[in-house]
Subunit: 255 residues, 2 copies
């Protein structure tokens, strides 16, 4: 039988989602917990990788196993054997479901402006040293929307076949607090290249600081050097993954 899970994790102590040598990974922790719960080896297939240090609120994966455990109870069974920084928030039976076939993913990149690092924020957000022009950031963000060649927004070493990607929506939400101003960049797309959201975030921030936009020329030329820095991984969170038919749409998802 095939099952699907939604998974949340604090990426700080992980070398990313995908199993690899010499790094602790989320996939590995889930497979270890599944081996304990089901008594056999289980391979977890995620919607896609997340990089080292990236967090997730709603990663999705699937696996195949024969078990008597009712599907909605599998989440709680796995949670009993997972470390504190990973939790399965929902489990469902999912015949025919393939976690890799997500239609869209939403990421959030969080940065804040303050006079110094703020320890209560700095685990999940990145401090910037200049106060950006949010209107300029919002205007530039619209350039990302649509289908473009995102080759320039991709870290070296990517194995993707094509660098064309469709970005459906980009939004910058800013909130003023007594101690800082926080900027959340939300990016929804059909798929992303390696480091793409972190480079999109870095370019937007530099545009907010007065740099002329390199976005359109980077689309045309593929030149990485036209764009701002790649932002650190700890500010990035995979918010959710949507599917044409979600196994969680039938009320089994919990809160």
């Amino acid at each position: 039988m095939r099952y699907a899970l939604t998974v949340t994790y604090d990426g700080t102590q992980f070398g990313g989602w995908q199993i690899q040598k010499n790094a602790r990974t989320v996939q590995e922790e889930l497979e270890k917990a599944a081996r304990t719960v089901f008594g056999c080896a289980v391979k977890m297939t995620g919607s896609g990788r997340t990089d080292a240090g990236v967090h997730a609120e709603g990663q999705v994966c699937h696996f195949d196993v024969e078990t008597e455990i009712p599907a909605p109870k599998i989440a709680a069974c796995l949670n009993l054997h997972l470390p504190d920084d990973v939790r399965v928030t929902a489990s469902a039976q999912a015949e025919g479901f393939d976690a890799t076939k997500g239609k869209q993913k939403t990421y959030r990149y969080t940065f804040y402006y303050a006079t110094c690092e703020l320890p209560l924020l700095s685990r999940y957000a990145v401090r910037v040293r200049r106060f950006p022009d949010v209107t300029a950031m919002r205007e530039a963000a619209r350039l990302y929307e649509g289908r473009h060649d995102y080759k320039a927004f991709c870290a070296a070493g990517s194995s993707a076949k094509t660098s064309e990607r469709t970005v459906l929506n980009v939004n910058v939400v800013n909130t003023a607090y007594p101690d800082r101003i926080q900027f959340d960049l939300f990016v929804t797309g059909e798929g992303f290249l390696y480091n793409m959201v972190r480079i999109m975030a870095g370019e937007l921030y530099e545009i907010g600081c007065g740099k002329p936009s390199g976005i359109e020329e980077a689309f045309a030329t593929g030149r990485r050097d036209l764009l701002g820095k790649t932002m650190p991984s700890k500010g990035l969170t995979l918010v959710n993954v949507k599917y044409e038919r979600s196994p969680f749409d039938m009320g089994s998802e919990g809160v």
Copy 2:
């Protein structure tokens, strides 16, 4: 010369504010940094203690030192020598100022309701297993306001002379997210007993779950057993401390 600081810290790895044997404390880290910056021993006097595991956005302290460093630059100098989980957000000259004479303090207690622990929240918030009635919590919260004998809301071992305290304002703010409902309890008072906010939070939550309020009888009798459990320290954050005359009111406080 006397100086004042505002300080933020992630309490997770601290045995609280006040220096003690066998525990890492915020005061100790600040005094170590100050010794490096000023080249002499400096005693930091906080607005009050915070317990082991409690966080702070705006703790305030004062100290005396002779230095050529301009007062607003002291924050950045100390930050260079502080560990990642403590930061000084502002420094100011403060003749005649006494950090222990705060007129009011505001604490926030954060809990959330979700089907499992959420790693991205659980460092600074406490998960509850039942969905409380927020209206009932808000109504009961008003009972706290005013001057009352909070003896029943105090952990054993407190050395306070009187257990009467004035609570100025209590508010319950709840926010629904896709994965949880979060409840922030804000409590502002002139002063608090040991564990008082954590016991106030525990009683309010149990009232939200249907327990009859024990608040009025606990005021009258001092009986701890009439009240709910003491909530864990990690959900508690000292938001700010206010003074009749704040050394930070003259625009030196930063963002």
